[in-house]
């Protein structure tokens, strides 16, 4: 059986449908990402899988055990890192870690080998209070705490939110390393650019999975021709491209604007824009990113 299996998981809070019939499976040893913005339902899904919340309907199994009936078995086997770094701010790095070790009936020494590559970053600050660590350090400590009992499945809910780019990259390197040791990892993130670090991803919005696949397949499935435009006046350019006949959709994309249109339309657009007096105008064909795919799916799902 797969490490995580769900069947039509559904949960609503009052009138808000947090999860709508979510069905998916995570293979053993897979690094699986759930990509979605705030309010997409990621945390709700994690809480159900970590046996903290019961679904209204549907079923889920983690490591072969049912989340409702066999939650004790699951709790022994999983590592869980909630959205907020769940550390005791007034306890030191070492105290936090050894406390969580005893919660799971183990010791730091017993499982040191697994956390060593991560904990080595923290060891110089072993006596520092967790509350005085930077975001990146807190994140690493929380990961150590979630790993201290050698879980077979790891749930990480938005571990990189609020963390600077350097620490984010280090963190993903660590996840890659854990994955190579056979730990199944389910991780959620609002950052589209982190999707590429996962084996497979689910693009989530408003309690639903819009698409599930490898990042490469998702990008490959982007059908439209995508272009990037840039000029001296980006604000005016956005309106001009958007309202040009034949352009399907146009949106800002960092320093450029992305738009979809056929090649013939783009030729006409080029002439039109040149006549409008833009300087330093460039229009080039670009490959889609996960973010482009996400927005295209969003349009498809929600008009």
């Amino acid at each position: 059986m797969d490490a995580i299996v769900t069947d039509r998981l559904t949960l609503s809070y009052g009138s808000v449908n947090a999860l709508k019939e979510v069905t998916f499976a995570v293979h053993r040893g897979e690094l699986y990402g759930i990509i979605g913005a705030d309010g997409a339902g990621k945390t709700t899904l994690f809480r159900i899988l970590a046996t903290l919340v019961l679904p209204d309907s549907g079923q889920a199994w983690v490591d072969g055990y049912d989340v409702k009936a066999q939650y004790r078995e699951i709790r022994r086997r999983i590592g869980y890192m909630p959205g907020r770094f769940s550390l005791y701010q007034d306890l030191s790095v070492k105290e936090n870690l050894s406390f969580y070790a005893s919660v799971f009936g183990t010791t730091i020494k017993e499982n040191y080998e697994l956390i060593a590559p991560i904990y080595s970053h923290l060891e110089p600050f072993a006596r520092r209070k967790a509350g005085n660590l930077s975001g990146g350090m807190k994140q690493k400590l929380a990961l150590c705490c979630a790993l201290i009992h050698k879980p077979s499945v790891l749930f990480l809910d938005e571990p990189t939110t609020g963390v600077d780019p350097v620490s984010r990259q280090e963190f993903w390197d660590m996840l890659g390393d854990l994955r190579s040791r056979g730990i199944t990892i389910l991780v959620s993130t609002p950052y589209m650019d982190e999707a590429n670090r996962c084996d497979r991803i689910a693009l989530m919005r408003e309690g639903e999975f819009m698409q599930v696949d490898t990042p490469q397949h998702i990008i490959a499935s982007y059908r439209d021709e995508l272009w990037a435009a840039e000029s001296d006046n980006m604000f005016r350019l956005l309106g001009d491209i958007r309202h040009f006949e034949g352009v399907k959709r146009c949106y800002t994309f960092g320093v450029e604007h992305h738009f979809t249109a056929d090649a013939t339309v783009v030729e006409r657009l080029r002439t039109y824009l040149a006549a409008r007096g833009y300087k330093e105008l460039t229009i080039r064909r670009v490959a889609a990113t996960i973010e482009d795919c996400y927005m295209q799916l969003e349009d498809k799902y929600h008009g």
Partner: protein
Amino acid sequence: MDSVIKVEELTKRFGNFTAVDHISFSVQRGEIFGFLGANGAGKTTAMRMLCGLSRPTSGRGMVAGYDIETQYEDIKNNIGYMSQRFSLYEDLKVWENIRLFGGIYGVDEKEIKHRTDELLAELHFEKERNAYVKSLPLGWKQKLAFSVAIFHRPSIVFLDEPTGGVDPATRRQFWEMIYAAAEQGITIFVTTHYMDEAEYCNRVSIMVDGRIDALDTPRRLKSEFGATTMDEVFRALARHAGRKE
């Protein structure tokens, strides 16, 4: 071009610790300026000085035409502020929030009424006039918060990590509003450590250990560092940081 922010050798020390170390830069009218740096690099301290909330230890600075050392009260009246953590009162209605902040910045009653109608029409929020802010979706709140931050027509608006965690489509709507405001001549000063927000700025500065280590357009920075994203530029710079923890 006239500069709306101009600082020279701006420095802030706390005891032996130099939080901001002789930074100099200027921001033009209508520019979208990204102010980046890792946690602890000195971003917040520098921004506090620019907003007139903290006095520099040494150096000079002019913001919106006022001296940050002596005319900080005038500065406060001529800037707007918005952050993702705090912007609007959730338990007040939409129009109550607008009136509150309009009043705080001394916009007179009649003008507030007039501009409120205008603002709600622009955002297509007429139906939500009497809704509680907490009942609005996150993306709407942000748009409203930005509109409120520029309600008193400040010459600069400071945005603190404005779009972290928002879905891509909503984020773009928000940036389009920022572009529109900049087009009207409002200077936008964005502090963030989300690099995807940095890509939207006209120019960005990157602070490391209290100094500005890089300042240019995102495109030129990327080519200078041989990088494809701002993320890589940032990582290349932050790697040399001495102030690790």
